[in-house]
């Protein structure tokens, strides 16, 4: 199972773009990079998933370079409500989803 490494915490101001990088040096060929978001007092929720290049949805963008050893979650123009813990996972069609400690993003006014 691929291990992911991400910063423990980040601060940002409202309206800024936030980029959270995740390292996954031993990612497997069939692993997808997946991000979950956890608000205080709630369970994590899926936000985006990708294999390579760029994926964008209504919440975020995910950039994965060709070597796939790292990836970057980009949150455009964050607001206070984006304050949460963001988890990066490398997943395939297996049973285990390893969440790790995540990145605590704090958005300041």
């Amino acid at each position: 199972l691929a291990k992911t490494t991400q910063p423990i915490s980040m601060d940002s101001y409202e309206g800024q773009e936030v980029n959270i990088t995740c390292s996954h040096n031993n990612i497997a060929t069939n692993d997808y990079i997946t991000w979950y978001q956890q608000f205080p007092s709630q369970g994590p929720r899926f936000i985006i998933q990708g294999y390579k290049t760029k994926v964008t949805n209504e919440v975020a963008s995910l950039f994965i370079p060709a070597d796939r050893k790292s990836s970057t979650l980009s949150l455009p123009r964050v607001s206070l409500s984006d304050t949460a813990v963001y988890y990066c996972l490398a997943v395939s069609g297996t049973y285990k989803y390893i969440f790790g400690t995540g990145t605590r993003l704090k958005v300041l006014a």
């Binding site: 007092s41 369970g43 994590p44 069609g93 995540g102």
Partner: protein, 116 residues
């Protein structure tokens, strides 16, 4: 309509007691999970059931016993509670991991267990 619901939301109890946490999902999913989250936000899988069959059993003390009466329910019973059991316990579900496809996990809102 809550997709994954777990009860109770808060559980405060004394060391040595036995307690249960219940989980139900109305998504029609075949796979359910229990995760434990510590104070540093580390989220660790404990158990997983697929259609009432245990498929993941991580290194968890045998004081923890999951029970799945049907595929929509996965309960967690904890015997002889210890201080170190204090954490937030999350139930989750996904469609069917045995199909070998990427699965999205849907989580409940957690049960905050405090052992005094």
């Amino acid at each position: 309509d809550t997709a994954v619901s777990q009860t109770p939301k808060y559980l405060v109890t004394q060391m040595g007691n036995d307690k249960s946490i219940k989980c139900e999902q109305n998504l029609g999913h075949d796979t359910m999970y229990w995760y434990k989250q510590d104070s540093k936000k580390f989220l660790k899988i404990m158990f997983s059931y697929n259609n009432k069959e245990l498929i993941i059993n991580e290194t968890v003390p045998n004081r923890f016993s999951p029970k799945s009466p049907d595929k929509a329910h996965l309960n967690l019973h904890i015997n002889s509670l210890e201080l170190g059991d204090s954490a937030v316990y999350f139930c989750a579900s996904s469609q069917d991991v045995r199909r070998g496809r990427l699965e999205k996990l849907f989580f409940g809102s957690g049960t905050q267990l405090s052992v005094l």
